[in-house]
Structures are given as structure tokens and as C-alpha cells.
Amino acid sequence: MAHLRFRRFNTGLYYRDQGIRNEMCMAVRAGNLVFLRGQTGFTLEGGFTGIGDAAAQADQAMRNVKTLLEEAGSAMEHICRITTYITDRAWREPVYQVIGRHLGGIAPVGTGLIVGGLALPEMLVEIDIDAVIPA
């Protein structure tokens, strides 16, 4: 069966003023595997929350993760892998606290990186998630 692709969006929203007008998508389901687009302070409706506030951006990102996983037929407890990208070491503690609150007792494999930047300068955190749909 062809992979299912959820919430196609126009990349012009994130890569603005750069002449990019192609579609990407927010989630791909390949059989029982689910892959999400890296989530940020952008709501799924396209508004940006938490300017200058990494914790608020992480909270929005994790809310998006929950919505997207459920739309794809998975759930938070089936998260396997989380990669957290932040733009400054100072964001580490507030961001990880928020992520921890959303994950609760779920214990995925985690990787954390401090990078030089994300798609837009106001984005301070991006969270990349893989999950599964158990049989």
C-alpha cells in the first residue's frame, strides 16, 4: 500500500520570502511506522507562538506531536525516538522540562543537539519524532 501523507502544507509558510512554494507534509504513515515533520512553535494552523520563549515553543511543538500522532493512528505512548534541536544551550533546561512533562512515563530514545539555526531566526527549538502503531 502507498504511504499515507497527512496535512500537506505549502513550504512558503516556513521558508518565506525565499520563493519556495512546494508542498511538504506533516506526517507520513508507512504501514505501522509513523514519521513526523520536525515540530516547532508553529501551530498546525500556521500561527507562531512563543517568540523569544523556547519553553512555549516546545509546548506548542509537543501539542502538535500529540495531534499529528493521533491523526496518523498512533499515540504519544508509541513514540520511539525523539531528536531535540535547540539553538542555544540556555534553552536546554526549559525545553527538556516541557518535553518531559508531555512525555510523562514514556521513555523514548533521545538525542539532543545544539545547532546554529532552524528554518526561521525566531524558531528556538525543533522536535523530530518517530513512532509506531503497535499491532
Partner: protein, 252 residues
């Protein structure tokens, strides 16, 4: 967090760090040894073997540590031939960590035989950007498991080793996507099997030209993606790299 978690047979084994004081090539090599000790322990705990390893992402905080860290990697993973992506990043979770390893393994069922490793190469016979690199390590361009395909991070380097598009991130992105398409085809897949792409650029100014190419190539079958600006890639002239993961849609 749990160290090695299975997802449909895929063992996520990273990210592994071994923070220690010291900021020198020797200290970086010592961290790398400890990281690969931890990797072996995690693989054993997961009931898998080192030869099940498919994909590694090498994340280093300083280009000067590339050679010592990759030297350790080449020795510790001799004969394994994973696909690899190499990043120079601004930092890791601990300020004392100079190297992080992210790794994925797919344990093989006895009936499956070894994973197919497509276009194997040795680091010493393969240019990185326009130069060569002194460490000895064995890799391949694509690993095919019964259900998934993992690609080496693709850049402006052609599959024959020439470097295309110096100073032109869009040209590098076109070459990288040509490689992705060709490697997926060699692994029995198409772009329609791709599920996720991670795009790395070394300067914010490259986001536009690179994403225009990447999103354009995926337009018919959009993928989930993440985009990062990193401090560097395998060589200074490499402006972008794309990591693509595919799941064969013809296998249940």
C-alpha cells in the same frame, strides 16, 4: 530515557555521549572509545549484533576532532559498513561532550541473511568534498533491510566521487537529490517510498536555494522533514547534506 528502543524491529541506539573533561584530539578519541563501548553494550542488550548496524550519525563539536573520532569509529566498526552522516554542531547535551553518536540497527531474522550494503567504499579511497581524509573507515552508500532503506547523507558529491557545485548550494542540492533518486532505485525503491528527510545547511542563506530544490523533488510525494543550520559538514565546501529514510511500500 531508555537506551535502545525497538520500533518494528528497528533498534534506536542513540544518541550516545561520553562527556569527559579535556578539549584535545586525545580527549576526543577517548570519548569516542567510550561511546563505542556504550554502543556495543546497547546493541548486546537489545539482542542484536554490531553487523546489524545500518545507519550512524556522527556529531562532533569541532572539526579538529573529526580525524581522531573517525579513526576510532573506523577501527571499532571495521567490516560493518554502515551508512553515515557527519555533522559539526554547535553543542551537545553536555558541555563536556565533543562527540555524539546516533545509531540505528535492524536485527536480522535468520531467514533474512545479512543486510544488503550497496556501493561499499573505504574513506581513504573516497573524496570528501574536494579533498581526501586521512582516517580509515568502511562505509556504504545505502543499506537495504527487508523493509527499510537507509541512505548515506547525500551532498554535492556525485556517486563517482566528483564534487559538484562548489559555492552553489542549489547545484549541490540537485546533485544530492539525483544521488538519492539513484540510490533508492538501486535499493529497489522510488522517491514515493521516502518517509522522512533531514536537511542540513551550513548557512541560513542556503535554506532558500536548497529547500527549493528539495521540496520540488518531493512535490509529488511530500515527506515529513526537519531542517537544521549546522556549523559544518564533512568538508568546508559542502554547503548542504540530506538524509533520506525510506520504507518499502510494497512490503507489508
Amino acid at each position: 530515557m531508555r537506551d535502545a528502543l525497538a520500533r518494528d524491529g528497528t533498534q534506536h541506539l542513540g544518541g550516545i555521549i561520553a562527556p569527559m573533561p579535556g578539549h584535545s584530539a586525545d580527549a576526543a578519541a577517548a570519548q569516542a572509545e567510550a561511546v563505542f563501548d556504550a554502543l556495543e553494550a546497547r546493541i548486546a542488550a537489545a539482542g542484536a549484533a554490531l553487523t546489524d548496524l545500518c545507519k550512524i550519525t556522527m556529531q562532533i563539536t569541532d572539526r579538529a576532532f573529526r580525524q581522531p573520532v573517525y579513526g576510532v569509529m573506523g577501527r571499532r566498526l571495521a567490516g560493518v559498513r554502515p551508512v553515515s552522516t557527519g555533522l559539526i554542531v554547535s553543542g551537545l547535551d553536555s558541555p563536556h561532550a565533543v562527540f555524539q553518536l546516533d545509531a540505528l540497527a535492524v536485527p536480522r531474522a535468520p531467514r533474512d541473511g545479512p543486510h544488503e550494503r550497496i556501493r561499499p567504499y573505504r574513506s581513504t579511497s573516497m573524496p570528501y568534498g574536494r579533498g581526501r581524509q586521512p582516517f580509515v573507515a568502511e562505509f556504504c552508500m545505502a543499506v537495504r533491510t527487508p523493509r527499510q532503506v537507509f541512505l548515506r547523507g547525500q551532498t554535492g558529491q556525485t556517486l563517482d566521487g566528483a564534487f559538484v557545485g562548489a559555492g552553489d548550494p542549489a547545484a549541490q542540492a540537485r546533485q544530492a537529490m539525483d544521488n538519492v533518486t539513484a540510490l533508492l532505485a538501486e535499493a529497489g525503491c522510488t522517491l514515493a517510498d521516502a518517509v522522512h528527510a533531514t536537511v542540513f545547511v551550513t548557512d541560513r542563506a542556503f535554506i532558500g536555494p536548497v529547500m527549493q530544490v528539495v521540496a520540488g523533488r518531493f512535490a509529488a510525494q511530500p515527506v515529513a522533514h526537519a531542517l537544521l543550520v549546522v556549523k559544518g559538514l564533512a568538508a568546508p565546501e559542502i554547503a548542504m547534506e540530506i538524509d533520506v529514510h525510506a520504507v518499502r511500500s510494497d512490503v507489508g
